[in-house]
Amino acid sequence: MAILARSAGSLNSNPGAKRGGWPRPGAAHLVPGGLKWILPGFILSVGLIYYSIIYSGYLSFFDWPGGRQEMTAVGSANYLEAFADPVFWTAIRNVLVYFVVIFTVQVVGGIAFAAALHSKVYLANIYKIIIVVPVVVAPATMAPAHIEVWQTNGTFNTILRAIGLGAWTQGWIGQSTTSLLVIIMAGCWGAIGFGFILYFAAIGQIDPEIIEAARIDGAGNVRLLASIVLPGVRSVTFSLGILNFMTALKLFDGPWLLTQGGPAHSSEFLGTMIYAETAGSSRNLGYAAALSIILLVLAVGVSIAIQMRSREKSPTGARKRKAKVANDV
């Protein structure tokens, strides 16, 4: 609306101007100017990805063991099966718990380390390396290491015994109550580093004059963090929110390598459920497709919700500003 108003205004004000070349702002508002550059990616994206999504949707209304076996139409039975399956709800719960914990750890840890390393710290570069290394370690490499740590005769239990907390030793991986904890621990390990990278850069973007001014006004470190730094990195926080939720929804390699969703389905995630349903021998690809569609709906829904939340909180309505410019012209 605002954009149209602006372009109509500019056309009316220059009736005789010959605008050669391409694209003219007035005409190009319906078709983005760089279309020919994004064409290959666009074809791939629409052709392949959206086709896959639509086909999955189609498949979710069938029972199909895959390959050359028969496809049987079952209507919405797969969705009803999902909603009635307690394992599905366990997976949803696990996704939410994983998201909340990892997001919190990532934001708190990331900001804390980033703020700390922006002040004068001895050997700052060494700390940066230590914090960031977990981010680049592949899950397949870190999984055996985590198993070594968390298994019944593993490092963590040995440490507990050594410091006199032997009563707390248990089979962390092999218990339904703690299997999710192991996966979350493994996830936190890389999460802090990733948050640190983003926040370190974002804090670096904050205008140092504002910080100076705040210091002159008498703000201490904590006040500075809360009132200047945090609002300044808000966009990073919202991005991390969306990213983390998507990661939690799709999470597969960590849980699969550590516990395979067990024991007794206690550490199932949507990702592991879909994998088990796609690749096992008693598989039903229709059910897997239904789970995938549910995952998609959740992902899109939460993305929109987070986006809307972030837009509400921006300082003034960006659109209003543009409209003022058009009227001035």
Partner: protein
């Protein structure tokens, strides 16, 4: 109307082109995709056996060194056929095979077992090998194989989707004789003697019985089958096909024995940390545990060479082989019997109907499954019971860790295994196998407070009776 100009027109055209391209891509994919109920390859048997070419072979078994020995022997007769073997872990195999076969980039030859309805799952990708077998072995070819093997590897339509390479038996345990000697313990024959043996073994710092029941693998069902056999020899198979319920008193007794085994320390605390492979295999092969439940395929580790490579794979840097011997499953239920051995064909080799190398693939499986030379190889590998009748290991060519003690024990094991009448996984559906694993995990997990009756009831509900082999 505003004058749009060449630039905008080009943009419009480009946009339209993009839309058309995307749509046609989508339509093209649409027309080719979807599950088809069209004809499978029942009519064709493919080209005849060829003497040269390349064959790729995928399987979860045998171990790579064993497979390479087979291939080396095969190449003595057929030097122009290049066979490459790729080994997978149990769970990984079926996860990798499905997409590979679907994509058309699958192996030429793959293992196909009778377990959990596999002939029906993988059968549609495989050639019907009955005509080929008849061509090679004659009209009475079925009787040349071990009892029921052909039927166990046929799908519900009667297509012979793989040819038996060898049989398997389970329902017994393997012991590390060296640990027993060191601990001064006796091989257990019933529950109480098992507890006594474990006391002595743990006293010298070794683990008594190693087992891995975590993850998704279906190994725990072997233990369940053995314990159930001790309770009532007929129960397991009856429940598998729906003639009995898993929450009948026998089923509940079985689960209660599991609980006792863990509570009394026979089964260790780390049982749920991981699956049988790698957990139990590594602990036994490292020489840390005195007993493990594995099937006939474990016989191969009595061999002097295989023992060393297995120990190295388990992470032992300077391995020294120990004497491993089979032992009967203890009478844990106190009804006077341990476990009857149960067995069936372990797996056969199937030919991918989409393969470009069917000719050499046929030669390969003919040599492996239907020739005496190939089957002698199988017998000597001590990994499988040869499927072709009348072939026994040639002991002159086999070096065991302790020939005197192990050879007679293995010969007895072979005889007993060939005499099994109970099937192993042929008549258990995949859903039932998964449900049994879940029940065992629920029994073992100290943080799950379900009663045995509830666990058994859930097992009954999640299981699916098999229709395989039911008249």
């Amino acid at each position: 109307m505003t004058h749009l100009g060449m630039g905008a027109l080009r943009t419009r055209k480009a946009a339209a082109l993009a839309a058309v391209a995307a749509a046609s891509l989508a339509l093209a994919a649409c027309s080719g995709g979807g599950g088809s109920t069209d004809e499978t390859t029942s009519a064709t048997t493919g080209p005849s056996a060829a003497e040269s070419g390349e064959v790729s072979w995928w399987g979860w078994t045998p171990d790579t060194p064993v497979a390479e020995r087979y291939i080396a022997e095969f190449n003595k007769e057929y030097p122009d056929i290049k066979v490459t073997y790729r080994n997978f872990e149990n769970v990984d195999f079926r996860n990798a095979l499905a997409p590979a076969l679907d994509s058309g980039e699958g192996p030429d030859v793959f293992d196909l077992s009778p377990a959990g309805g596999s002939p029906d799952t993988w059968g549609p990708y495989a050639l019907d090998l009955a005509p080929f077998a008849e061509e090679v072995l004659g009209a009475d070819w079925e009787s040349k194989f071990g009892a029921n093997y052909v039927r166990q590897l046929s799908d519900s339509e009667g297509r012979v989707v793989s040819l038996a390479l060898g049989g398997m038996a389970a329902g017994f345990v393997w012991i590390n004789q060296d640990i027993f000697d060191e601990a001064g313990a006796e091989v257990p024959t019933d529950y109480d003697s098992w507890v006594a043996a474990c006391d002595k073994i743990t006293a010298i710092g070794k683990k008594c019985f190693t087992m891995g029941a975590g993850g998704e693998d279906t190994f725990p069902t072997e233990m369940f089958h053995s314990v159930a056999n001790s309770v009532d020899p007929a129960f397991f198979l009856k429940a598998a096909v729906g003639d009995a319920r898993w929450d009948d008193p026998e089923g509940i007794a079985t689960l209660e024995i599991f609980k006792m085994l863990k509570d009394d320390g026979i089964i260790a605390d780390n049982v749920l940390d991981a699956g049988q492979y790698p957990l139990a295999n590594e602990e036994f092969m490292k020489g840390e545990a005195a007993m493990v439940q594995m099937g006939f395929w474990y016989t191969q580790y009595s061999g002097a060479e295989s023992c060393l490579s297995a120990m190295e794979s388990a992470g032992v840097s300077n391995p020294e082989c120990f004497v491993q011997l089979p032992a009967e499953f203890p009478d844990v239920a106190g009804n006077g019997n341990g476990s009857e051995y149960f067995g069936e064909v372990d797996y056969g080799l199937a030919i991918n109907a989409d393969s470009a190398n069917i000719g050499p693939a046929k030669t390969f499986i003919q040599w492996m499954t239907m020739s005496e030379a190939g089957q002698q190889n199988v017998a000597n590998a001590l990994d499988l019971l040869p499927s072709l009748g009348g072939v026994a290991p040639n002991w002159d060519n086999i070096t065991l860790v302790d020939q005197e003690v192990q050879q007679p024990a293995i010969e007895q094991l072979i005889d007993d295994s060939n005499a099994t009448t109970q099937s192993r996984q042929w008549q258990t559906s995949e859903d039932t196998l998964d449900a049994i694993v879940l029940a065992i995990q629920q029994v073992f997990d100290p943080t799950i407070n379900m009663s045995i009756e509830d666990i058994a009831a859930q097992l009954q509900e999640s299981s699916v009776p098999s229709t395989v082999g039911v008249e």
